[in-house]
Amino acid sequence: MRRIRSNKHQGLVSSRRDFLKLITTAGAGLTLAMNLPLAMAAESTAAAGVDFEPNAFVRIGTDGRVTVLMKHLEMGQGTFTGLATLVAEELDADWSALVAEGAPADASRYNNLLFGTVQGTGGSTAMANSFMQMRTAGATARAMLVAAAAQRWKVPASEIQVSQGILSHSASGKSAGFGELAELAAQQPVPDVQSLRLKDPADFAYIGRSLPRLDRGKTDGSALFTQDVQLEGMLTALVAHPPRFGASVKHYDAAKALASPGVVDVVQIPSGIAVLGHDFWSAKKGRDLLSIDWDESVAFTGSSADMLHKYRTLADQPGAVARADGDAVTALASATTVVEAVFEVPYLAHAAMEPMNAVALVNAAGCEIWNGEQFQTVDQSAVATVLGLKPEQVKINMLLAGGSFGRRANPHSDYVIEAVLIANARQGTPVKLVWTREDDTRAGYYRPMYVHKVRAGLDASGNPVAWEQRIVGQSIGTGTAFEAFIVKDGIDSTSVEGASNLPYQIPNLQVELHSVDNPVPVQWWRSVGHTHTAFSTEIIVDELARAAKQDPVDFRLKLLSQHPRHHAVLKMAAEKANWGAALPAGWGRGVAVHESFNSFVAQVAEVSVQENGSFKVERVVCAVDCGLAINPDIIRTQIEGGIGFGLSAALLSEITLKDGRVAQSNFHDFQVLRINQMPAIEVHIMPSAEAPTGVGEPGTPPIAPAVANALSAATGQRFQRLPLKLNS
């Protein structure tokens, strides 16, 4: 080992191996896989023959610890806590005995029920997918524990009570904890799912309560992120990527890099030149010393300004039809008043606080990966293909992710394959690929840039009679394994979602799409198409209300009479915000309502405009209907977080291209929301008995249009591009 572990200094710090043990203990179940020697890669994490594992999701130890295996990535959205709540509820477990552990990649056991055969996290599906599945898993375990107690105590199962992790029989006075019965429970037959009786919602003890989160260890450094993984003999790799998308290496000279202290190797891979060092700083300095001659003959040399011009031209022409109700063209021609606007939104980086990274080891047995994976089996399959392995030879150890917002669900497995190809060049050596913030900002997979052109018309009574919307931008789904699911008849649903299902009652409504082909890599970004469709549609609705001389809330409520959940959240947000009440001079109030991922969110934003032309978002009042509320505290924080994420895009962030080069590089020029810019936020959760839906994304779409509408109310200006700027 290097430096600090030289003989001279040995004993000053613990060895890397000891350290691994240390974090394993501190990180509890989350890091259980880290216990395993690498040679045992393919083996299960379960201790054979002792624990009670009634199904793929629950493991109860003789110590009474209840481990819930999480097929979904914990990236901050609280899914570990939400899913464990479902198990604990039906199991009648003691919450303090619950531990969350990332499940391995295995589509046969851990596929997302809403993604078909794919194991992955996205589309705010974790709770919707898991509501019945995890409750059933908990109920199964409970039934087997009860059967074990009945057998041991020789009493009828029907007389046994379970509460807070204790089984008891009142007539005989017997009681036992889950741990004491675990071995016997493991010998019971697994009950038929049909025989299980899930709880009546009236009896819920945990669902609906703000239980403390299970992703612990984030306050003391013991929680393990990919960036924290350190393995014996591990090298750190940094990659020099091409300066333009589509460029490739013509020639490179690594002599200076290889001579730099701590650099071990330089490897060419399809995505660039990788420098491997004993540590991050050595690899970084080595990368700075590379001399690379890039072949940019086929590279993309476009600029955002030119692309926008092209997009705007396309928006004047008919596109592929995503929705056609009535005859929008004729209705527009005969409308009394027509409102028209062209909207522009830029490319956006996800900019998770933890830049992209992955640890990979390739050896004769296969490949082992340590990563916070949003797309376990997509990556598993892609890695198997690139290495010529079977998927089951690719083992994925799940870690926490320091944010993701969609980025770690790359349909091309970009950064994971990059890590694996570097590791493949150094077989037997674990390699940690680290992207610097500059790499993360410039290597792409952005929320696509879009242009929307919308024309909408009112009749003489102020009723909307026509809506024509043309959307221009890159397709996220085309060319990916998801194309068949996402793209139908030339329409990428992720480009038009939120517009093609516009809920307002408008008799003549047409939505069209131009999918533009260019090589800037694009991907889903928290709330995907809704990020731009909510912006354009909710601003136009406000402008229609203004043209009709009607209140924006009343105008919407009338048009949403067929959509009770939209209607209810809008009404709630307006009431709680005291809609219509006087505001201080220079302030404005704006509203937006939008459904995404089957959750319904309305937001009222209040802004203040200063005399110097700057403005501030002061307050946001939000109502959310996500069905049955599992953990109100997590719902509230996810909605707050979605608002904060959306405000970054509304106020600050944009990725621009100049001659094919990304203009931004780090947080000084790709700005994100700061704590002093976060408004006061109120979140009101609608009471509901509907099955729960997701909250990770739906808080994001309404905030940009709500703020734009508030600014319009304050200034009279119109807003048609993000990030929002006032005219001077």
Binding site: T219, D220, M353, N666, Q677, M678
Partner: protein, 160 residues
Amino acid sequence: MKTPLTLTVNDRTHVLDLPAQTPLLYVLRNDLELNGPKFGCGLGECGACTVLVDGMAARACVLPIGRLAGRRVTTLEGLGTLEHPDPVQEAFILEQAAQCGYCLNGMIMTTKALLMHCPSPTEAQIKAALKHNLCRCGTHVEIVRAVQRAAGLRQDEDTL
């Protein structure tokens, strides 16, 4: 020839045979194996790497170790553990002030520094102190509450 440097981290002294310009963060993470301080931007722009140097918040990713002779560096690990947390860590736990948690090291260390010289900060002072620490998840509301709790300004309110 490099001259060995002495670095005091969490009350332990390390003698390091490293170039003086090596940024502290990489020494902490790679050599001293302290995972609390996080790599987020490498330019002192996000605050995820924040440590205390003689009680002042500092950006470890742009702080050369050669400038730390005779100074005391404290990392998140030096504050407390999950079982025995520092009052600031405890306040963040009680307020559930983490989503992904990657920024939290910086939030906690900056709060620690703030409360040492400003024990009862106003909300505006809290936001001014933390505005250079980025949080992408939007946990800002809970983070402000955690600072208030750590300062004893929220002790009577119910949490979980």
